[in-house]
Symmetry: none
Subunit: 205 residues, 4 copies
């Protein structure tokens, strides 16, 4: 009955993790208001009180979820991208990283991407995430496009315009990925998307 300290730590970690997993999927699919704390604890197969024991409130759970899980996943997705290469390859690789994450059978990448892109704009009616955190996804793309334009790789449309287009596509695709599932969801190749921002070479139109 009395477990070792390590066993206890392990158990605790697993429980917290299963709450996170359940919350990530539910918040992404139904939105913060569409999920009850019972939905989460049922999915996580833990008692009602535990969520409050560990997280204090549903809102705090959401905030921890963003800071502890979603941002980690985002880093994980982009960890192999070489940020030192030329802008057009960097953007392509970033896109490939996100699209690759969406293609995987596991749902958490898609959920994380979707929640993150939601947060970027729609913060008014989602619980405030108190701790500051870097919106890597937006900054990365915005800065890279800026640079790419300087070196003549990208078209001359406003950077913000181009960034929003890319993020919209990503958000739309992650949304579809979450709601259609791994099997039914088609994830396009990055080349199609790249066309929107690349400067057209040797064309007449």
């Amino acid at each position: 009955m009395p477990k070792t300290k390590e066993q206890n730590e392990q158990l605790k970690k697993e429980r917290i993790d299963s709450i996170y997993r359940a919350a990530l999927y539910l918040f992404a699919t139904r939105g913060f208001n569409g999920v009850t704390s019972d939905d989460i604890t049922n999915a996580a197969k833990c008692s009602h009180g535990l969520l409050y024991h560990y997280f204090g409130s549903k809102e705090e759970l959401f905030q921890h979820l963003i800071n502890d899980i979603v941002l980690k996943l985002d880093e994980e997705i982009t960890k192999d991208v070489d940020f030192t290469q030329r802008p057009k390859f960097l953007i392509r690789d970033l896109l490939n990283a996100y699209l690759g994450a969406l293609k995987q059978p596991r749902d958490d990448y898609a959920c994380a991407i979707y929640l993150l892109l939601n947060l970027y704009i729609q913060s008014r009616f989602t619980p405030k995430v108190k701790k500051t955190f870097k919106f890597r996804i937006f900054e990365n793309i915005y800065c890279t496009i800026e640079e790419g334009k300087k070196v003549g790789e990208f078209s001359d449309y406003p950077t913000r315009e181009l960034t929003i287009l890319l993020l919209s596509v990503l958000k739309g695709l992650s949304y579809n990925r979450i709601n259609l599932g791994h099997k039914n969801c088609i994830i396009p190749r990055s080349e199609i998307i790249m066309k929107m921002i690349l400067k057209e070479e040797g064309r007449n139109a």
Copy 2:
């Protein structure tokens, strides 16, 4: 007799309209679950009893909103598009129609587009819309791309893939438009988006 019949009809219509207007904006910005029925009636400056008098429930209000308002607005947006022209011009004009709607100061077009594109996929956790209705927005684009591919105007990627890309962009943009407002929202030109689906001419790649 109660007032004149016409006056009564007129009054009733106005009240219903103001409920619809409030509901359209609120549902689009906060999601079905993020809106209380009092939010709506407060915004519409009527008693909450009236909402139930006319619509029966919050859910039925949502359904009526889609059928009576959102689909009308969608038709209105695309009413001047010439559906007989060549696919690549048709898609361009459709895109321009939607982007043009998003550019206008009025919010209802953006709200309608956003709700409609949400419905197309995420029907699981949104109240079911009982009456069947045509998803003009999806069908139009899907069929047109099919034809365009036959006449060699569009790239050879799967039609579904291309359609989803276009709709994702539209959804992302309408989402931004709603949440950033008319002034702060940049709506890109259709040409950039068209690049994703057009067959590249005179290129070797």
Copy 3:
């Protein structure tokens, strides 16, 4: 357009009557709390406001219903009974009058009897009927049994006990009559019921 005074009076009378008819049936079948004012006006095919125009409130409608309709029907049912005859024949005739009323295709007699017998006891949770009125049905039977016992026609059980038995049977039967309808409801002969109160003659037990 301008009707004559008589026509107007006539119309008014008919409308009030149709409200009464609807209310009588609905109150009897569903109870005061199970009926909405809309149920009544829908059944009476009149506007919502009219009920309040004529009766002031649902509760007042109920009270008027008892005083103006139910007591009238009770009198009508028992109007041919000869109250001067010997108790055992009087009780028999009264029973036959009520049972005869229940046998008729029209529902209003059964509804009236049921409401009346309900009122007799369960006044705590039914709106108070303000105007005093005679509970003919109870008094008639009680007094007659008293007399009958004096002349040795009825058994020696307490009068109250015997009265309650008779009324219980009547109430149960009118309840069945209302809920099963004219066709499906069997109304027993008065003789069976009379056995409960008649003194047994020439028997050894």
Copy 4:
């Protein structure tokens, strides 16, 4: 661990029981529509949330009440009746069982009998009781009268007619018992009621 498991079970049982007790009395005296959920929880001295925690809705509470309590009480009332004896003694004993239950100071027997007899017929406007259950009270009496007629103990009126008479009397008496209380209510002896159905011996007519 939360309290001891047994304590918890016990506490839960008591709360549920006190809700049942309150509901049984209130539904019987005022009818389903005359009782609010707060009436019940006030009487049971618990929060209204608890009612919904355990029963889901007022309607489900009603259904559980019938299945878990009312039918149990009915069995309890008739548990000592010898169902193997001759019909006329069986009916007498059944009657005595019910009348005996009505005579007791506790109200729950009367409430249970009343609700049960109500259900037998008036199912239209009472919430539907989904689980099927045996109407012991009706079946017992109907079948026994049938048999009794075969062996010549009961009068030759239709069985259904006789059954309804008996049940009407029981319903009327339980109704009175509930509304007048233990002290003020006279419960007649079964002999009087038996007279309605017994074949008259040694008489001419």
